[in-house]
């Protein structure tokens, strides 16, 4: 091993640790959010006096135009944004693994049809499909938004799963399992899906990174989470109503989104590398 690759590995490891730490802090924040505060506007004269305050000891992230504490709103927003991302990814994994797994096992004809459907979905801009679905949705809530983002996001995952299943079903150990009289479903559960799991996990983590900005964009446009429930996108929307002199209103949500997407990508990339290096041994 050369010095250059050693240095690269060390840098990767450092990046990986930063990413993990960032995500852990965000998750911890999301978990404690309800105990920190409700994010509601104060009562009495403070409603007027405490509007658009810059960060201070009382309000570490400042306040917004309704005198609401931004830290409280940020923590609640983290809860909403991460919640949407995790729920949506779960939906994507369920649909994607089922679709890809069935296509991988299916006879060529069925497989072709299933994959053409995936191609068609991937050829249509996702934001367009989501906006169309949003427009016919009566009541937008966190689970509904997660469902919408999930059922539009799985095609890529199903391709990963199908490719892996295709690789695994021609292995000798699957042939050996058949030679032992193992039923097909048992082969799928015992031999094929465990082999596909690492790639699926890596792809799933990377999927989270695609959901976060999408949710933020939708909420920013007013098509996602409805105010006053805060999400990172909703918080950014607040900024647009106010001049940029309240820099903290823009900075904190933007940094949160960027840091999350970056961390998730670093983590997912690391898992992917780990997966492919694991296969070669």
């Amino acid at each position: 091993m050369t010095a250059a690759t050693t240095a690269r590995r060390r840098r990767r490891r450092t990046a990986w640790r930063f990413a993990l730490a960032t995500l852990l802090i965000l998750v911890a924040g999301a978990l404690v959010a309800p105990w920190v505060g409700s994010g509601a506007p104060p009562e009495g004269p403070a409603l007027v006096d405490e509007r658009l305050l810059p960060p201070s000891w009382d309000h570490p992230m400042g306040t917004d135009a309704s005198a609401r504490d931004l830290l409280q709103r940020m923590l609640l927003g983290t809860r909403v944004s991460l919640g949407v991302a995790v729920l949506a990814t779960t939906v994507m994994l369920l649909v994607g693994v089922a679709w890809g797994g069935i296509a991988g096992f299916a006879p060529p004809r069925l497989d072709r049809w299933m994959m053409r459907f995936v191609d068609a979905m991937m050829a249509t801009p996702r934001l367009l499909i989501v906006l169309a679905l949003v427009s016919v949705t009566q009541r937008m809530s966190v689970p509904v938004l997660a469902l919408l983002l999930g059922i539009t996001g799985w095609p890529h995952l199903s391709r990963v799963v199908r490719a892996r299943v295709r690789e695994l079903i021609v292995t000798d150990y699957v042939l050996a399992a058949r030679a032992l009289g193992t039923p097909t479903w048992r082969i799928l559960v015992r031999h094929v899906l465990p082999g596909a799991a690492p790639s699926v996990v890596a792809a799933g983590v990377l999927a989270v990174a695609s959901i976060i900005p999408l949710e933020a964009a939708l909420s920013y446009y007013g098509a996602g989470i409805a105010p006053p429930t805060p999400s990172w996108g909703v918080l950014l929307q607040d900024v647009s109503a106010h001049p940029l002199d309240a820099w903290w209103l823009l900075a904190f949500p933007a940094v949160a989104i960027a840091a999350t997407v970056l961390s998730v990508n670093v983590l997912g990339g690391q898992l992917q590398r780990h997966d492919s290096s694991g296969q070669s041994t």
Partner: protein, 266 residues
């Protein structure tokens, strides 16, 4: 006595890009209970396709031509529904593969892979399956079987892995084992050990073995009869004695002549 296995006019073709390729061309042979029969030939001669056809696990692009039959314990496997075949596979008839490193699931403990055979074939009690597997691992010579039960295939040597494969194939004492080049991927010294283990297990459980190999030295040591295959057809079927002393077919003579031997300089 009716033979344990009787292959009649078996033809296997693989769908090719332009035309079908014939892998097995109208072969017939029998295997008696407890007998070891060699299926000899160079690679590509259709030995493995024959084995896979008997197991009923040919790849989807392969086809068994109508008109043939594979009778095992009295019934035609080609006319048996898949569900009943699954019940036979692993229990009455099993297979040992050439590459134990590839035929074992890399992410499953080897002991669990042995126990899996019992679980697939109706064993409900996980602990019973586990203890049977440990017992079998001891039998195939894994020292400290309790610990090695928990190993993954990559933690074992090639010889150990093939011992595990034998444990899997023979756990339920099948009537027939198809051993497809079981020692070809191993070191020469390990080959001899694994081979003698296979023979011990065969004697104990009175299992018949269809021994697929290209190694005539192994044939002479282990088998009673040999079938010589070439280009999908059986060109000679004889007892091992006759085969070595009086080979009839020119191809058999070529094979024998191609055997490496130690020449003394007397």
């Amino acid at each position: 006595m009716t033979p344990l296995l009787s292959v009649e006019n078996l033809r296997v073709t693989y769908a090719g890009r332009d035309a079908d390729r014939i892998a097995v061309d109208d072969i017939s042979f029998t295997v008696e209970p407890g007998e070891i029969v060699a299926l000899v030939g160079e690679s590509g001669s259709g030995k493995t396709a024959t084995g896979l056809a008997i197991m009923g696990i040919l790849s989807p692009n392969a086809r068994v031509a109508p008109g043939g039959a594979i009778r095992f314990e009295g019934r035609d496997l080609l006319a048996t529904p898949e569900k009943e075949l699954r019940d036979l596979r692993g229990r009455r008839i099993s297979m040992v593969f050439q590459e134990p490193a590839a035929a074992l699931n890399p992410v499953m403990r080897v002991g669990d892979q042995v126990a899996e055979v019992a679980l697939v074939h109706g064993e409900r009690d996980r602990h019973a399956a586990r203890s049977r597997a440990v017992e079998m691992l001891v039998r195939v010579g894994l020292a400290d079987a309790e610990r090695q039960y928990r190993s993954y295939p990559h933690e074992l040597s090639g010889g150990m892995r093939q011992r595990v494969m034998l444990a899997i194939a023979l756990l339920l004492k099948p009537a027939l084992v198809i051993a497809d080049e079981p020692t070809s991927a191993l070191d020469v010294t390990v080959q001899a050990q694994v081979l003698s283990l296979l023979l011990d297990l065969q004697r104990e459980s009175q299992t018949a073995v269809l021994f697929i190999t290209h190694d005539l030295g192994v044939v002479a040591e282990t088998c009673s009869r040999a079938l010589v295959m070439r280009a999908g057809a059986i060109v000679e079927a004889a007892s091992v004695d006759d085969l070595f002393h009086a080979p009839k077919h020119p191809y058999t003579r070529d094979l024998l002549a191609a055997m490496p031997r130690i020449v003394s300089s007397r």
